[in-house]
């Protein structure tokens, strides 16, 4: 995004040298399971959802290990919404539709522990349009030009804004995180690229002519932005951070994860020929 990708240049340099990667067998400590809470309230029906799971050991088969039996509520302006389990570890409320400017309070009670969080839904900033550009030097595995989705929106000048984008290619959600703030773009028309590295050379992650590209834009609050920003810089295991650490969560009580109330807008295009 706006963080200028100097590291890409470093990696090219290292690539020119004789660097090589090898999967190794490394002995790692196991911390024991930690509680992970992901809570969302959006301005659309079905957007009120709380997932509660446990962390796993590094060498376990990765899966969503949902925790049942939690009492989950969200209250706003004195109204309490109960969330009901819809699958193991997934709690939903079908009537709660968020409204920008309102503050939502999450309470999760689980095994004598209480976790709470607060998120204020920001005002809607509309996703104006999306388009695709060619990357300057990146290529797909078959040596065709790497193409990158770009979002265009008008940032409001009178407030601090934070955004999260979610990219879907032919309906498949890209796992990379895209967050942005307006520290350097306040009040401007912003064209921002959603750069990511297709590190497993998966063709399904490539943007190609004829594919359906959908981008969702969430306007998030400052604490949620801080969470995703620190998650992306220090918890991805990339080896570039000198100090890997857990992200700054907006949930109190000692759980990993976040609670975010956001309005959502989206755009879809069919990727044109380049």
């Amino acid at each position: 995004m706006h963080t200028i990708r100097f590291s890409a240049i470093l990696m090219i340099l290292l690539g020119l040298l004789s660097s090589c990667d090898k999967v190794i067998n490394l002995k790692l400590n196991n911390s024991g399971p930690q509680t992970v809470i992901e809570g969302t309230v959006s301005n659309e029906a079905g957007g009120a959802k709380v997932s509660i799971s446990q962390s796993q050991n590094f060498y376990d088969e990765t899966s969503f290990t949902g925790i049942s039996g939690a009492q989950v509520t969200v209250d706003v302006d004195g109204t309490v919404y109960n969330f009901d389990p819809t699958a193991a570890g997934v709690y939903q409320n079908s009537t709660l539709i968020g409204v920008p400017g309102h503050t939502y309070h999450l309470t999760v009670k689980l095994n004598d522990k209480t976790y709470t969080s607060t998120s204020t839904m920001p005002q809607v900033v509309k996703l104006d349009s999306i388009y695709v550009v060619d990357d300057e030097f990146g290529t797909n595995k078959d040596k065709t030009k790497l193409r990158v989705a770009t979002v265009k929106y008008q940032d409001p000048a009178n407030e601090q804004n934070y955004y999260r984008f979610i990219e879907y290619i032919d309906g498949r959600k890209e796992k990379s995180l895209f967050v942005d703030d307006d520290e350097f773009t306040n009040g401007q028309t912003v064209n921002s690229r959603l750069n990511f590295s297709n590190d497993n050379d998966d063709p399904a992650r490539e943007i190609r002519t004829g594919k359906q590209l959908m981008i969702e834009m969430e306007c998030i609050d400052a604490a949620v932005y801080k969470y995703f920003f620190s998650l992306n810089s220090n918890s991805t295991g990339s080896g570039n951070s000198a100090a890997p650490s857990n992200p700054t969560s907006n949930i109190t009580g000692g759980a990993l994860g976040y609670f975010s109330a956001y309005p959502i807008t989206r755009k879809t295009i069919t990727v044109p020929a380049n």
Binding site: L13, C20, I24, Q34, Q56, S63, K175, Q188, N240
Partner: protein, 860 residues
């Protein structure tokens, strides 16, 4: 020296010989003994050219007896080198002066002073030892080749010795203060240097209280094998105890558990902020242009200050003032050229030394257009001129310019570089009083250019210093020598300017420039209390003033801004005054051993904050502010020093404890790309480091080298990190071993090897994983509680002398870095398995396995 050699069984000295020689020149005599016994002799040119003549009449005598008798009256001694015999000039065999007649009670004292220079090049010689032949009293030359020694009136014989130079004896008759400039002859070998000068007693200066110091002559390091054949001072010093590499791909190094920014690098007195080219693969110091390097590991003399862990004082060559010369080399990735000569013979000289890599030429051959359009090179130029103005004054002008350029596909790139310029004036007030005045300019900047689609971004950053320094040395008498001076630096730090064009909406930014005025004064006295006990005690006072214009902030515990205050131009925001005492004592136990102890406090007001594993040219230098306090270090150390086997080996043991205050680190969720005040992203705390260092070094003979081992610990305690518990600093390295060997096989070949093995860096590995919105992230518990795998590597080198005449010489050097191809971890990262996304795996990145290189060097 005689009778000290242990006769091993099979010793060539035990061979019996029957020979008769009458007045045969030394060299021919040795040849004849070789012919008769098969025992070979090794000697340098001064021995070969000796005009002494030997008379031998031996019947069935051992070679030992023959040599003892034949050399008894000459200043030459011999020693065994495996199956060969080394013959060398031995000044200690010259007769000592007859004791002073008792007729001179309470003898008057006079001072001899002057400059020691090389006869061949006119270069001043740093650290040359000047002592009485009986070894009772002595001194050494300072950084400008100047010495001053006070002795009783009468006749003395001074023994002058220095690394790479032939020792000589100078008789003096003292009846008044005297100027004595001394010229020394280079030892025979020039390009292919194996120093076989006799080691003088107390080579490491057992008497000097200075601890934690390594002094390296450039000639000593040229045989150590290095990556891609580029001789590198900075890489070689990392083979000494207590100085540790920050790893491959990073030019930084750690001294006694300190961070990389806690080392002060000086080139001819000018601060060098980024000492590396090509992301750390090469140092900015071109060894062709360097004369001498001194490394102080925290026990800095009072004249140095400003960094907590070490001072690396690099002195450039002055340039040959005797004759014009060109030397250079062509290696795998870089070429070097060095031109020097007299401006006015014997009085003034110049030197220009330049280097450029040409790895980018190979990029052009690539089929890949991205690679083809990439740039990847550095160049640097050292230039210096000096002028002798009469007997008492000398002026030096020196400069350095280095630039790195790195870009991909012609659109994205970074270039960075240092510039320094120094004007110095040496003045000798009188025999005892030496002064050096320096005016120094130093600049480091970088520029990044990024182009994405229709958008371009440019980032520039700079740190610039104007520096005035006055250093004086005053020899009070035979017992005291005083050094004192002042230093004043004006820093201008531009943290960043970002310009943007295009449709990204990015608004061009200019972060506030910071100004600071850094003043210091010091005084230090070295007192030779008795023949055995020497004490150096001094004080440095530093005052760091932060100066407006600028806005300074108050920040709460969570990094939120709670207030701010604007200061006008010239207004003082805050002054940090620090008293930095430095005390060191040496007690010489006997002729071959001594113990030393020292304490030093250092303050640091410029800080480098980095959140990347490998240092990057874009790491931020920041000055102390109202909130960022000066870093402080108190180091206590104790050491034991001993010469072994008739001074052939020296053993050093040092142990230290260092207490650190006001250490800083980024918050876990820090955003380094922000225009918020930097204090909102930082946390503060303290540190401690302690360790024991062992060094066994062999300086003479066919085989030279050293074994260095360090056992150490370095920890930090910073509020807000690791649950406010002590944690390992990244540079905490329990064990660190280095073995360096250089073997002179014969006149043509020199072989070398070095081996390093150390505990992997302290790093943070995940202790679990979890899903957020369907993607894997990792869970961390304790900071730096894990370790990268143990690092180990063997490098081999071989140098062949190709041609050697008086006018021209050349050599070829082969080296193999990581000779057994060990896959050392540059980093370890974690990811989903590429084919089975439900599995996570650990991946090791290795940078270098088997890097061979060939370098051709010439000189004429």
């Amino acid at each position: 020296m005689f009778g000290n050699l242990r006769a091993f069984a099979q010793s060539p000295l035990d061979k019996t010989i029957t020979i008769k020689l009458n007045n045969v020149p030394l060299r021919q005599a040795l040849d004849k003994i070789t012919a008769a016994t098969g025992v070979r002799f090794t000697y340098n040119e001064s021995v070969a050219a000796s005009n002494i003549k030997l008379t031998i009449n031996a019947k069935e005598q051992s070679l030992k007896q023959v040599l003892d008798a034949a050399l008894a009256n000459y200043p030459y001694s011999y020693s065994q080198l495996d199956q060969d015999i080394l013959i060398r000039y031995d000044a200690t065999k010259l007769k000592k002066p007859v004791a002073e007649p008792a007729a001179k009670p309470a003898a008057e004292k006079f001072t001899i002073s002057g400059t020691v220079t090389s006869k061949q090049s006119g270069e001043t010689i740093i650290g040359a030892s000047i002592r009485l032949v009986d070894g009772a009293q002595g001194t050494s030359t300072n950084g400008y080749g100047f010495y001053s020694i006070t002795l009783p009136a009468g006749d003395h014989q001074l023994l002058i010795s220095a690394i790479g130079q032939k020792s000589l004896i100078v008789p003096v008759s003292l009846t008044s203060d005297q100027r004595l400039n001394i010229t020394m002859e280079d030892n025979a070998q020039e390009l292919q240097t194996v120093t076989i000068t006799a080691t003088q007693k107390g080579a490491r200066d057992l008497k000097s209280p200075q601890m934690g110091v390594e002094k390296l002559n450039i000639k000593e390091i040229n045989d150590v094998p290095v990556l891609l054949g580029e001789h590198d001072v900075m890489k070689t010093i990392q083979l000494f105890p207590g100085i540790k590499s920050a790893g491959e791909g990073s030019g930084g190094f750690y001294v006694r558990g300190g961070a990389t920014d806690q080392n002060l690098l000086m080139l001819d007195e000018a601060t060098v902020y980024n000492a590396y080219h090509l992301l750390g693969f090469f140092s900015t110091f071109n060894s062709d242009a360097i004369k001498n390097v001194s490394i102080y590991k925290g026990d800095m003399p009072a004249q140095y200050g400003g960094r907590l862990s070490s001072v690396i004082d690099v002195k450039m060559n002055d340039g040959n003032n005797q004759k014009f010369g060109v030397s250079g080399g062509v290696g795998m990735i870089a070429a070097r050229l060095n031109i020097e000569g007299p401006i006015q013979k014997g009085k003034s000289s110049f030197l220009i030394s330049a280097r450029r890599t040409y790895a980018d030429a190979f990029l052009k051959l690539s089929k890949d257009t991205v690679v083809k359009n990439s740039k990847l090179y550095f160049y640097d130029i050292n230039a210096k001129a000096n002028l002798v103005l009469g007997d008492k004054d000398r002026i030096y002008i020196s400069g350095y310019l280095g630039k790195d350029v790195l870009s991909a596909n012609n659109v994205n790139g970074i270039n960075w570089g240092n510039t320094t310029a120094t004007l110095r004036w040496n003045h000798i007030f009188n025999n005892r009083f030496f002064s050096n005045t320096s005016f120094i300019y130093s600049n480091y900047d970088y520029e990044i250019k990024v182009k994405q689609d229709v958008n371009t971004y440019g980032i520039t950053s700079r740190i610039k210093d104007w520096n005035f320094k006055e250093d004086m040395q005053y020899d009070i008498g035979s017992d005291h020598s005083l050094s004192f001076g002042v230093n004043s630096v004006y820093h201008t730090i531009k943290p960043g300017e970002i310009s943007a064009t295009g449709n990204s909406g990015f608004i061009s930014q200019k972060l506030e420039t910071r100004y600071a005025w850094d003043n210091a004064a010091y005084v230090s006295d070295t007192w030779k209390a008795t023949d055995r006990f020497t004490l150096t005690y001094g004080l440095r006072v530093s005052a760091f003033s932060i100066i407006g214009p600028g806005t300074y902030y108050d920040v709460d515990a969570d990094g939120g801004i709670t207030g701010s205050k604007h200061y006008n131009s010239g207004q003082i925001v805050k002054t940090y005054l620090n008293l930095e005492p430095r005390v060191a004592a040496a007690f010489q136990l006997n002729d071959i051993s001594s113990i030393k102890a020292s304490y030093a406090r250092n303050a640091q007001n410029l800080h480098l904050v980095s959140n990347s594993t490998a240092g990057s040219p874009t790491d931020k230098w920041i000055a102390s502010t109202n909130l960022i306090k000066p870093e402080l270090a108190d180091q206590f150390s104790v050491g034991y020093y001993r010469d072994l086997a008739e001074h052939k080996y020296e053993f050093t043991f040092e142990t230290y404890y260092k207490k650190l205050q006001n250490q800083l680190d980024y918050r876990n969720d820090a955003n380094i790309f922000t225009n918020q005040p930097i204090e909102t992203q930082l946390l503060y705390g303290k540190g401690r480091a302690y360790g024991a260092e062992f060094l066994l070094r062999k300086k003479t003979g066919r085989l030279t080298g050293w074994i260095s081992y360090t056992l150490s610990k370095s920890e930090r305690l910073i509020d807000g990190i690791n649950n406010n518990q002590w944690y390992n600093a990244r540079q905490d390295r329990t064990h660190d071993l280095a073995i360096v060997g250089i073997y002179k096989l014969n006149e043509k070949w020199t072989l070398s090897a070095n081996f390093v093995l150390y505990t992997g860096d302290a790093v943070t590995y995940p202790s679990g994983k979890y899903l957020v919105d369907g993607a894997t992230y990792y869970y961390y518990t304790n900071r730096n509680a894990s370790r990268l795998p143990t690092y180990n590597r063997l490098d081999l080198g071989a140098t062949k002398q190709l041609k050697k005449t008086k006018k021209y010489s050349s050599e070829i050097n082969f080296s193999l870095y990581n000779a057994y191809g060990n896959r050392n971890a540059y980093r370890i990262y974690f990811r989903d398995n590429k084919t089975d996304p439900n599995k996570t795996e650990a991946v090791r990145t290795t940078l270098f396995t088997y890097v061979p290189s060939v370098t051709y060097n010439f000189k004429f």
